[in-house]
Symmetry: D2
Subunit: 125 residues, 4 copies
Amino acid sequence: MNERHTEPAGPTLEELRQRLVAFAAARHWEPFHTPKNLASALTVEAGELLEIFQWLTPEQAAAVMADPDRAHRVRDEVADVLAYLLQFCTAVGVDPLTALAAKIERNELRFPVPDFPAEGEEVNP
Amino acid sequence: MNERHTEPAGPTLEELRQRLVAFAAARHWEPFHTPKNLASALTVEAGELLEIFQWLTPEQAAAVMADPDRAHRVRDEVADVLAYLLQFCTAVGVDPLTALAAKIERNELRFPVPDFPAEGEEVNP
Amino acid sequence: MNERHTEPAGPTLEELRQRLVAFAAARHWEPFHTPKNLASALTVEAGELLEIFQWLTPEQAAAVMADPDRAHRVRDEVADVLAYLLQFCTAVGVDPLTALAAKIERNELRFPVPDFPAEGEEVNP
Amino acid sequence: MNERHTEPAGPTLEELRQRLVAFAAARHWEPFHTPKNLASALTVEAGELLEIFQWLTPEQAAAVMADPDRAHRVRDEVADVLAYLLQFCTAVGVDPLTALAAKIERNELRFPVPDFPAEGEEVNP
């Protein structure tokens, strides 16, 4: 993560989640923040991130951050996806970090590290 | 966040991101993890989260976590969305926390807190 | 379909599909029209249609076509979804009408018409 | 369209739309078929179509219909996308063929056929 600054530490996920809660409360937006609406908004924003890439060649896609306009759009859509994911988690009372840690543990059992990966084998990345 | 345990601290977002990097490397999945593929996978998983809610009434949606099967699916899809978002961020070299903090600051300027919110006013939550 | 004019007949789906093929060919866009790119574009446009509804109350959503600006956006996104679906079908050689007729027949077996629908029964609309 | 049978003619889009209306009515599913729910379902199904392609190489994606299992999934998801698009159009009273014809006409003005397409020019397919 070449943008990661460890000195001084940036905000934590939980701090940003709380800022989003306060942001919505100050604007009286909570009635709109139902789980269903937030899951819709999350999907819409993920689509907007995908839109940046949909017609790019593999070479253009790999160099997406070298184009300042596209790089800005990528950061903006990443932020929107994360914002709606955190607001969704707030609405349903799920901790995303705990959920992801549990999923990684399930996936470590489901997809054991291959000793001798067969050539051409099907994968599920 | 009723699942948040602050004592002892759970994993940070950066720790989980590094576990995902190691997970993919051990399985030789990096060639599949292009920005375009990961943006597609993120959108697909967001759709799977939305699928849980698509036919629910507002009452059923509000009580989604009271149903153990649905609650498991919600946690599972939240984990998948976050996993692909982190892998996407790794592929393009974006720090999601920095991107979200910057977006919140832009939104604080774009949507000032209303002193006297007009009744029936249009909002953009 | 209150916009359907049966006298004189409008274009058929197949005629519009052929116009889209000619449109792309005249602009040398075929290299971009891979199945994967078109499935991405279809998903992005479906998200843009959903975006119109994401914060609307059920009452606002039901009246969406009474708002000229929203009505135009709805027609525009419906057209985009159908255009990319037809272009996807061209790219993979699938006839969408045959595929849908076959699916309806499968669903008639899968979801038989209930004689006495149980109150509160689970549905899968 | 190698699956297109012109002798005898298959069903028209309007005939399939009416079968879907009758199908939902017989199962008392109309209350679920709000514009917002149907736009969600459309997005979810588009994501399921994209899921088939998300990890495929360009070569695998181009040969998707040569794999009987993938070919069946493609036809099935195409049918689902078209079904929800038609049900959405029913719910809002939009004729999809008229909407698409109008959009093609707007796009013919917006993207004129280039006389001398510049090499490497930006396109918006």
